[in-house]
Symmetry: C2
Subunit: 297 residues, 2 copies
Amino acid sequence: MGIELKIQPLRYVLAVWEEGSFHGAARQLHRSQPALSMAIRDLEERLGQPLFEKSLKGQLTPFGEYCLPRFRELIRQHDRLARDLQHVAHGQQGRVTLATVPSVASRLMPGFLAAFIAEYPDININLHDENAEFVCRMVANGEVDLGISSVWAQDEHLSYTHLFEDNIGVVLHRDHRLANRDSLQWHELEKERFIANGTSRLLKNTAAASLVDNNDFYISNMISLLAMLEAGSGITTLPRLAFPVDNRKLCFVPLSEPKLVRQIGIIKPANRSLSPSAQALERVILKRLTGVTGWPA
Amino acid sequence: MGIELKIQPLRYVLAVWEEGSFHGAARQLHRSQPALSMAIRDLEERLGQPLFEKSLKGQLTPFGEYCLPRFRELIRQHDRLARDLQHVAHGQQGRVTLATVPSVASRLMPGFLAAFIAEYPDININLHDENAEFVCRMVANGEVDLGISSVWAQDEHLSYTHLFEDNIGVVLHRDHRLANRDSLQWHELEKERFIANGTSRLLKNTAAASLVDNNDFYISNMISLLAMLEAGSGITTLPRLAFPVDNRKLCFVPLSEPKLVRQIGIIKPANRSLSPSAQALERVILKRLTGVTGWPA
DNA sequence: AATAGACCATAAGCATAGCTTATCAAAAGT
DNA sequence: ACTTTTGATAAGCTATGCTTATGGTCTATT
């Protein structure tokens, strides 16, 4: 192999040429003059040719003139790379892809992302909304950097950072006989027409499993589901976060005894680390949830 | 300013990735494993982000994957530059421009250049032929790297390396009454019709000055000059090297008492050094003139 | 399970690269 | 002739970059 050029001596050569003297360059670079003399002499020996004339000091040899623009170019490329990597490493540049369950995407992410782009304006964001199972799968497959979801299943390859608990409750028409209660128990719903939805799987293997086990209604689309409920055609369960805040015809009554919650947290790959920009997003989310604001609106 | 990347640790990262392990890379690079560990840890700290996963060793982090191709690119550019500069420094690549007097260009340069391109096939050559004065001017102005000529005038900015002496003699027709002499003296030519040429200025300020001072013939073009002489229309003087070896109608008779010579040598700029390729050409010329061959044919 | 082997991290020690200050010699300005 | 400015050189210090030795962890093997 050939020789190994170090970046620093190349800078020295450049500075000497610009300043026209070793002393001037040394002053500019906050180095002593012998430092430059020695570094440049070493470089000249490595190359096998002097770069500066021995008589008219500060003047380049023809070989030096050949080298100078090439030195400048390598330095330029080095500096560009160093700056770029710094930016990326500090999460000031790059791309985050994340997947969340729809309720988080519509209720929490707008706030999170507003805060995020305020702090990191040059990061591109890619947000998918999927059900909890799919969110976990996408994280596990590396299709997204991170997810916000309830834990779907214990998975070796996923790590879970808890954010908050989301109460599960009954959604029913305001005119319903149970609508004004502070809380409800499962057995009070046995006679109601239950419409299952995508979040109903949260009831499986719980005390309330019977609600969803034997029924014929299932509506995955949230708009359709709400329309059914608004028409008074039945009741359903939803996590509180999934219940639209501004709905006038429906109300949300928490269930109790046993109280049922879904755990919402950040899903990350267990064995890989996050990209710097994903780390930045995670920091922003954690700060907003554990900071002064406390519980999200 | 940002950080300063060194080339070597980047190579380490690349090798670890290629080998899939620190140990393997260390073996390949003839370094100990801790050397890599420490160098890479240092790099990671400078960047502010780990490049390799802390759990699955030898695996890149997303940030590492971002960095890897960029590292490779910088290394590639570094190596290309290093190789290029090595070539140029050792005169194995580049361009030489030189100027010589016509006699040297036609009689000596073919041999010199043949030897030169055999040894340095990748150097471009640029050969000008001009009179001695102009050769010196071109060297002084930096229009050419070096010249081969007689010294025209003492010049601060030029350095002269002597190569050989070139006898000046009379050129006349074979049928001329003086044609068979071993040597001639100036006064024997007084009655002859003298045709001056570009080299006649060599006679100025010598014992033979009178020959050129009062005459009406001057022919600068060598072909025309020789045609005149072959027609028996006069005589001239030439340095021996300028006299065509294979001419059948003319002959060359050296002048003596005082013997007159021109000094031929290499003209270089005094204060600038030569480009590496020009140095290489100079070496070849000196070797051929001082080597076994001795006097040129 | 226990053990051996492979891997990476850490610690201690050493050579040298890269800088400093001090001094010298040469050239340029006064 | 003298002062100033410049680059080279010498001696010395510190940090870098390596080494060997050792310890901890994970995986594969028995």
